[in-house]
């Protein structure tokens, strides 16, 4: 049944390509239906009606297997439907290119949903690949600025990362001795320690490229700056989380191997936070600031993962996985909202250069409020979702600290905390430069009208999600309550 | 009486001359002729082997029959090849191999 969540956008995309109706209407209806259905699953996600398992290939045994593997899948699916809905309704499609625009958005959305709904490793990988080519087309054809270079860079970079990842995944499956590629079977098996180290390295590099882990991060900012708003929203909001989801999902089988790479990973994630943070401070354009900031925030989620690695298992550090999930959700929503609003600014004032903007709040107070909300969310203001995630990440870093000498992960957490100052610096500077101060020529009230009601609905939905999870994170944490499916499977397998 | 080796030697020599011609000569028709020379040397080899490989006191006529096939195929190949060369000449006004490089990468 969960295949419906994927089929709706897929069929709608094909319908648009076949010219069965007005592209924008089909896309909006599909996205709304998906949103309603997706949010509806919250109430009954544990029922097995959502599961589907179809053997597609028998040697190796690959199944088209879908369902909510655990609470983390559910949260990511909710994120995907929310961002897809908003993405369809944001941005301005150039004249005459509706087919390409809307069908690409739907394909990308379907890819993201499929990846998070998959309970088979192969289709998990394949659905993500589905999203690569539409992204390439959208950035390359309908993007702005240096779009061709950005499109080539992101596609080839991510393709290279995917090849490394595929190698790692194939090695993992063959070393595990499992018959099928299903998560259940893989997580129930075990791999020899020597192989684990190599597999872990491939997984970290492969997934790392997809998450823009330092030093594989330089594709992200130019791509998001040139991409049309919906693509930037879905990619930064949803597709980037694919890598972290995969790492956490596959962690139990390679837990020993990952520990060999702990220090290396900690150095890289600190570079994500501090190095890329400083790069962001030096940016002079709003879209580059946001692109780099999305790279920076991935570092925090990695910090939770590093805490998990050091502890050795989900039970040893029960905070790490919920922290990562909440922060993934929060970051996805906030960055999607920010990209949407930046695109609005670009359309209204014709520029995203900070030097050319100023005093926009007078002409567009509602836009200023929403941007302020999203910006404050992304720097971790309490009451908004990102803080809930970040505070859990920091707590997970210190979870196993006993008051004596500081360990690797604790030192990393301390250094990572400077990131909250860095992010406040660039976000407040951007806000100050764009919205406050006296209005300048292209932002005066004669030229700019405020946010209309049609744009307010998607932005409002995202803002409300941020507030709900920020004011009451248990709304999201309740889904993560159940004991680890992997460990319960292992228990059942060993019985 | 010449031994098998002598015939093989001559045949090899003819093949080498043909190969050298294919590699070195610039005129397509000459290259074609050298190609034919190589085919002829192969035929000579076949006949030599058939003559010196005796089955019940008689030569192994399989080899000689095979030569007939080769000659036939060679004739067909020459027909097609010369037709291509004529068409090429009509298109490019040259049959100098060094000037025909439009398949360059």
């Amino acid at each position: 049944m969960s295949i419906i969540l994927i089929l709706i956008p897929l069929l709608a995309a094909f319908a648009i390509l076949a010219g069965l109706g007005k592209a924008k209407s089909i896309a909006t209806i599909a996205a709304t239906a998906n949103l309603v259905l997706g949010l509806g699953t919250v109430f009954c996600w544990k029922a097995s009606i959502w599961d589907l398992s179809w053997e597609v290939l028998s040697k190796p045994s690959i199944h088209l297997s879908l369902g909510f593997y655990d609470g983390m899948s559910l949260v990511m699916v909710i994120l995907s439907v929310l961002v897809l809905f908003t993405a369809v309704m944001s941005g301005k499609c150039p004249e005459g290119r509706e087919k390409l625009w809307f069908s690409s958005i739907l394909f990308i959305g379907a890819g993201g949903l499929g990846a998070f709904l998959s309970t088979d490793l192969f289709f998990f990988y394949a659905f993500h690949e589905l999203a690569l080519i539409p992204t390439f087309l959208m950035i390359g054809i309908l993007g702005s600025g240096d779009r061709k270079n950005a499109a080539w860079k992101i596609t080839i970079y991510l393709a290279l990362g995917s090849i490394i990842l595929l190698a790692g995944l194939i090695w993992l499956v063959s070393a595990s001795g499992s018959d099928t590629w299903l998560f259940d079977d893989l997580l129930a098996s075990s791999i020899s320690t020597d192989a684990q180290s190599g597999i872990a390295a491939l997984l970290i590099v492969g997934f790392g490229v997809l998450i823009s882990l330092f030093p594989f991060h330089s594709w992200a900012a130019p791509a998001y700056a040139s991409a049309p708003a919906p693509v930037a929203m879905i990619h930064a909001g949803v597709l980037k989380k694919f890598g972290l989801y995969g790492l956490i999902r596959l962690y139990p089988i390679v837990s020993t191997g990952m520990q060999d790479w702990l220090v290396c990973l900690i150095v890289l994630l600190l570079c994500n936070i501090l190095w890329v943070g400083f790069v962001t401070i030096n940016q002079k354009r709003l879209d580059m600031i946001l692109g780099n900031s999305s790279v920076m925030h991935m570092g925090y989620i990695f910090l939770a993962f590093a805490a998990l690695i050091e502890a050795g298992s989900f039970e040893a550090n029960p905070l790490a996985k919920p922290a990562a999930v909440v922060l993934m959700f929060a970051h996805g929503i906030s960055i999607a909202l920010l990209f949407m609003l930046t695109d609005t600014i670009r359309r209204k004032t014709g520029t995203v250069e900070l030097a050319e903007l100023g005093g926009l709040a007078k002409a567009a107070p509602r836009l200023a409020f929403l941007f302020g909300l999203a910006g404050m969310a992304s720097i971790g203001l309490p009451g908004l979702a990102n803080f809930s995630g970040e505070v859990l990440v920091f707590l997970s870093g210190f979870n196993n600290y006993d008051g004596g000498c500081l360990g690797y992960v604790q030192t990393a957490t301390i250094l990572a905390l400077w990131g909250v100052v860095i992010s406040a610096v660039y976000m407040l500077r951007a806000y100050r430069q764009t919205f406050q101060g006296p209005p300048v020529s292209n932002t005066s009230s004669e030229k700019v009208k405020d946010f209309g009601p049609f744009c307010q609905i998607p932005a409002g939905i995202l803002a409300i999600s941020l507030l709900i999870v920020g004011l009451y994170p248990n709304s999201l944490l309740q889904f993560l309550d159940e004991p680890e499916a992997a460990s319960s499977e292992t228990e059942q397998a060993s019985k | 009486m010449a031994s098998l080796n002598d015939y093989l030697f001559v045949s090899g020599l003819l093949f080498a001359i043909g190969l050298a011609g294919v590699i070195v000569r610039k005129n397509i028709i000459v290259i074609f002729m050298c190609l034919e020379l190589m085919l002829a040397s192969a035929s000579l080899t076949l006949v030599a082997f058939s003559r010196f490989h005796l089955l019940n006191g008689l030569p192994d006529y399989n080899g000689q029959v095979f030569v007939f096939f080769i000659i036939t195929v060679a004739a067909a190949e020459v027909a097609v090849g010369l037709a291509i060369i004529v068409a090429l000449y009509r298109a490019r006004q040259t049959i100098n191999v060094e000037e025909l490089t439009s398949m360059r990468g």
Binding site: I281, N282, L417, V421, L477 | -
Partner: protein, 615 residues
């Protein structure tokens, strides 16, 4: 009864939400709604105080199996009840004052929305049961301050000031969070109850904590949060700039409540740990010294400022230094008592200055005022009461609280600190009376001052109420009932503290009268060391350079490096290498027929060799 604290906490938040979502267009209604909500919270607080009960309640905000969970709740004890009175009392009076002061503002609704948001956040800090909850509301208070300082954000100076305030506070929060995490590791809990249980047996910290060094470090890091919020040196630079906000905001946030939150938090924390445990480690000493140094620096800087609000801002910094010093001397009662009395008279002084600014048509330079004694008698009187309370003239509340701190310093044997505190008392009297003489006495020095007239009842009523509190809140009959952490104060006329404070007042008053009693401009202007005071010891400029080089240049360098090495060499390097290989192999496809033939021949030979002669 249990739900009253939730109501006090939630009502301002609902008000803020209602104003933002619905009432933005109806400005006067928003103002009224906000003021009513402040009034209701004040009434509820008085009810709670009169009952005098110690309550606690909470709900789980974040629960994860295997982890204790983060709770949001309230804990009412003497400390929080007294602090709540300060917050709601001063808050309500400021709301009333703002009704008149801000009535011509075009964004009145946004202003009151911000005030309500602030009341919500500050209440959260006061009622917090654990460090994480306190941190959340700590940051929310920072947000409210950002919004209110930047209320007139079309002005560049206001926008910059609000950004500076938020960022400086963030740096403090950085240290705060690390301290909380380390303390969590040491004690296994971040609730105040949990911490006090951990230290309940008392005794030397060595026996209780794994590492005394880490414990001291944790204390100092947590204090870093207080440094940011209460503007202790070197994180004090945001407070004077915060005067860009409307004056009632300065009265509420930057005088009475938000800046006091740091002191409040430290007291809460230290009470949970226990004074005996803290006695034997070196952390609190540093805190006391930071407080003293801030106090002295700020007092020196205040002697040469000309903007009435800036003088009061530096004075606030100085008094906060006193409170922090008291906390560092492990005498929380003294610190909280001074916080309590200071809230009333400092709010009075700020609101009084607001009245003066309003009457003089937004003139803030004291040298352009003068002669206000005749034109604004009520303001003159109340401001005078506030001034003598701040200076610690015997009989006022400020006298008792300052005495308490001086005695604390004397009793602990820290004579250096005592000396600094006494010197600061002298300086306080000096610059406050400088302000008072220049602004209120003499002849009007400008058009605006000539045409000043007394302010209306909405503004004078809060002034009078605060003046009464400034005098009487120090006495046992009042302070004893409502002040947080009150300890009955015994008055010793012959103690060094008493002698020092009387001397300080007398000397300061005398010097001030000599120099400023009757003068048209500042006689100390442009005189050597006084210039340094006027220029605030160039600390702001130093910070600007630090940020410019330490951060922005570093950021530019890292960006350059990122572009050159990672983007240029490695990423583009790969693509250039791939292109190069492609071109290299492309040379094989030369279009040369005979070249192909040669390769073909070589290939055939190779195959023959491999099949016939190998394997």
């Amino acid at each position: 009864m249990e739900s009253l604290p939730w109501l006090i906490l939630g009502l301002p938040l609902l008000t803020a939400a209602a104003i933002h979502l619905g009432l933005k267009k109806k400005q006067p209604l928003s103002a009224l709604v906000s003021t009513c909500s402040a009034a209701v919270t004040l009434v509820l607080t008085l009810v709670i105080i009169s009952k005098g009960s110690d309550l606690a309640g909470s709900f789980t905000w974040a629960s994860i199996p295997g982890f204790d969970g983060i709770e949001v709740g309230y804990e009412l004890n003497r400390l929080s009840r007294g602090m709540m009175l300060v917050v709601t009392g001063v808050g309500f009076l400021v709301h009333v004052f703002s009704l008149a002061y801000m009535k011509d503002d075009s964004a009145l609704a946004r202003y009151f929305c911000g005030l309500s948001l602030f009341m919500f956040s500050m209440t959260g800090i006061v009622l917090a049961t654990n460090f994480i909850m306190m941190f959340m509301f700590w940051e929310l208070v920072g947000l409210s301050s950002y919004l209110l300082i930047g209320h007139w954000y079309q002005k560049d100076s206001a926008a910059d000031a609000s950004k500076k305030a938020f960022l400086t506070n963030r740096i403090g929060d950085f240290g705060f969070m690390i301290g909380i995490l380390i303390l969590w590791g040491i004690t296994g809990s971040f609730t105040f109850n949990g911490i006090s249980e951990f230290f309940a047996e008392g005794g030397h910290p060595k026996t209780v904590v794994p590492s005394v060094t880490m414990f001291s470090v944790a204390i100092l890091l947590i204090f870093m949060g207080a440094m940011g919020k209460s503007a202790q040196a070197p994180l004090h630079v945001w407070l004077p700039d915060a005067m860009e906000g409307p004056t009632p905001v300065s009265a509420l946030i930057h005088a009475a409540t938000m800046v006091a939150a740091g002191v409040f938090m430290m007291v809460r924390f230290f009470s949970a740990v226990g004074m005996e445990t803290l006695d034997s480690i070196w952390g609190p000493d540093i805190i006391a010294w930071i407080g003293a140094i801030t106090s002295l620096l700020a007092a020196l800087m205040a002697t040469q400022q000309d903007d009435i609000k800036k003088i009061l801002a530096y004075s606030t910094l100085s008094q906060l230094g006193y409170m922090v010093m008291a906390v560092g001397l492990l005498d929380p009662e003294a610190g909280m008592f001074h916080l309590f009395t200071h809230a009333w008279f400092k709010a009075l002084l700020f609101l009084g200055s607001g009245a003066v600014i309003f009457a003089c048509h937004h003139e803030q330079n004291i040298w352009k005022m003068g002669g206000l004694k005749k034109t604004m008698p009520v303001t003159f009187l109340t401001f005078g009461i506030g001034t003598i309370a701040l200076c610690g003239v015997p009989g006022t509340a400020g006298f008792f609280s300052k005495e308490h701190i001086l005695e604390s310093a004397a009793h602990s044997g820290q004579w250096f600190l005592f000396g600094i505190a006494a010197l600061v008392a002298c300086l306080t009297t000096f610059y406050m009376f400088r302000l008072f003489f220049v602004a209120f006495l003499g002849k009007p020095r400008s058009e605006n001052a000539e045409h000043a007239k007394e302010v209306g009842p909405l503004m004078s009523a809060p002034l009078i109420a605060l003046a009464l509190m400034a005098i009487f809140s120090g006495y046992q009959f009042l302070g004893g009932e409502i002040s947080p952490l009150y300890k009955p104060f015994e008055f010793h006329p012959d103690a060094p503290a008493f002698i020092a404070s009387i001397l300080a007042v007398v000397i300061g008053l005398f010097l001030s009268w000599k120099l400023y009693g009757n003068t048209e401009n500042d006689p100390l202007e442009n005189r050597g060391i006084f210039n340094h005071f006027r220029n605030k010891f160039y600390i702001d400029e130093a910070y600007a350079k630090l940020v410019g080089y330490g951060q922005d240049t570093l950021a530019a360098f890292i960006h350059f490096f990122d572009e050159l090495i990672i983007n240029g060499f490695i990423v583009d390097g790969f693509s250039r290498a791939a292109g190069g290989f492609g071109r290299l192999f492309g040379r094989l496809q030369s279009g040369n027929l005979q070249g192909y033939a040669v390769l073909f021949g070589i290939g055939v030979l190779l195959v023959i060799y491999l099949t016939v002669f190998v394997s």
